[in-house]
Symmetry: none
Subunit: 187 residues, 4 copies
Amino acid sequence: MDKNVGRPRDDAAGPALLSAARRLVTERGYQRVSVQNLLDEAGVGRQTLYRRWPSKAELVLDAFLDSAGRIPVVTDGPIGDVLGRFLTHLFTNLLEDGAALRSLMASAQEDPKFLENFRERFLLPRARIVKSLLEQAVERGELAEDFDVDTASDMIHGAFWYRMLLGEALDASFAKKLAATTLKTPE
Amino acid sequence: MDKNVGRPRDDAAGPALLSAARRLVTERGYQRVSVQNLLDEAGVGRQTLYRRWPSKAELVLDAFLDSAGRIPVVTDGPIGDVLGRFLTHLFTNLLEDGAALRSLMASAQEDPKFLENFRERFLLPRARIVKSLLEQAVERGELAEDFDVDTASDMIHGAFWYRMLLGEALDASFAKKLAATTLKTPE
Amino acid sequence: MDKNVGRPRDDAAGPALLSAARRLVTERGYQRVSVQNLLDEAGVGRQTLYRRWPSKAELVLDAFLDSAGRIPVVTDGPIGDVLGRFLTHLFTNLLEDGAALRSLMASAQEDPKFLENFRERFLLPRARIVKSLLEQAVERGELAEDFDVDTASDMIHGAFWYRMLLGEALDASFAKKLAATTLKTPE
Amino acid sequence: MDKNVGRPRDDAAGPALLSAARRLVTERGYQRVSVQNLLDEAGVGRQTLYRRWPSKAELVLDAFLDSAGRIPVVTDGPIGDVLGRFLTHLFTNLLEDGAALRSLMASAQEDPKFLENFRERFLLPRARIVKSLLEQAVERGELAEDFDVDTASDMIHGAFWYRMLLGEALDASFAKKLAATTLKTPE
DNA sequence: TGTTAAGCGAGACGGTACGTCGGGTCTTGAG
DNA sequence: CTCAAGACCCGACGTACCGTCTCGCTTAACA
């Protein structure tokens, strides 16, 4: 297969589109950015976008998925501190893209393929980290043997998204309360 | 203000549109329902819709906000049972409108006024019920004095929405796990 | 101006629209043809029409202006025969588009730019032919030196339009009477 | 038949509508005046219009038909003078309503019933006057026995309408030329 | 004097057309 | 084979207009 025929793809076009998507969607939200806006901002032709992504939605998704910085997971210390620290980092990190993430979650509701992508590439990886932290705590005996890790994880991420989608505050103090309420063991 | 002038609005038209909106959006989702579909289903002229709502979005919002059936709140028995029962009812109730609610939450992300409406008329009323159940449990000594009712409420509703938006199962068993995890007091 | 950029316009789309306009407006008249009818008949997208013409009215105008077949002008013989023959041809020719021409004349009354176009591209060319025939007859001595060519031309075309707009018969016999009355020289 | 029951019609409403129609259509042309404009201008309810006229078109037609002043027909003197005088009066008279008449003729093209009305009540009465003038001239021997009165009449009125619809000048000088060309008898 | 029925202004009604906009596909000539 | 440019089809949107319908009020003629 001789694929090295013809003009090579412009390596700058993809990043330019991703960056345009990040910028514009952050500013205005998903719906208020048209494909034409993205092309103009990136200085790129229409087909160049559709050669790389199957739709506007997928491009914008990629724009935020791959840009989400890695969160350092430090497992030292008691589970309360570990979880609190992780959530604080996570929230800080995500809040920058808050408006865009809300748009993405919105768009995912009208497009099953998009949702699956969003789930697999964005939501589940973050969920897995929390679950693994909780599982470690169970193993170490810091949490009860029958602690429902899956449900707890859903509650933690659910609370985050719930507040974000409602436009409410997401700060370090909420991260701490979330960790505390999750792990609460009276007496 | 002399408003009883001219032909009065047809009292049947609004409800017909609301009902058409409920039916069609539940079947197909917000995006796949056009204004014309709504008009045809309701047997109503175009201007009749736009005289009552400023846009298709607002109509659909109204269609679901006020239609949500009342959930019976039975406070007898231990908080675990009460909460489990309530959540089971709530989930059953909301799941009928699942597709539509996801559409609404999505639309709310692109329109602040829409979101505020959705929050005040739909989400907060349900949150208040859960909070009041938990507060009663605290007063009765079933939950610790320092139990974080607000955060727990966010976690419960958050978990629900998180799973719904992700298209995951929402059944009685999940309602029970949610209640159990919220109230967990080891040993 | 670098205009050979981008996909070139489809050369078939314009003619397809013009032909659809001719066909439908001839059948039903201007008012009873919708933009959608034209698009369907031409097998063309909405924007493709509005990229070429600013409105339905302008499209229909173009459809008839340039389509009017050429009338053979035979100048042999006495002016009476020449004029009679020409008018007979002209009437036959125009009558095919009768309904449409009436629509166009009507539309021209509500839009000065449209009227100017109609005048320059349709009415005046035909008026010039008649004037030139009459002028030749004056030169040849078949008509008096002081024959008022301009007024006679207005009367001929006026009579044609007057009867057409009133929905009256326009046949060879009227063409002959018109020629005769125009040239009448008693005794 | 006791029809004198109930509130009598407001005698002022009809004239108010006619006058509003005359004013607005003269200013803006038929198409650019909406029914609502007429109602507002006349200070009248919608049903009051439709109780008196079957459509906007008929109202506007009446507004101009009945307002057309009577033209004095003086038959003294040679036919050239009589016809010239009459046409001068006619033109002067009609020119005031020029814009509106053009609109009416335009509207008549899309509505056969309207056209019939316009023909019967406006165009034919004026045509009959000219025909009768010409017929008198034939009887008096001022015109040849075989003078084609019908065709001549069509040419006179046609020339008038042709120039009016084309937005060209209609003045006393044109009226004279029209009379002269119609009656021209060389040597 | 009280009843009745039609007229009134106001404005909502169903229907239909318009011109704009956005998404994803297709087609040039140039590189 | 990719690029920028821009046309293409499709279909939704919200506005405007027409002629009809319906409200509560007003206005006479009849009872």
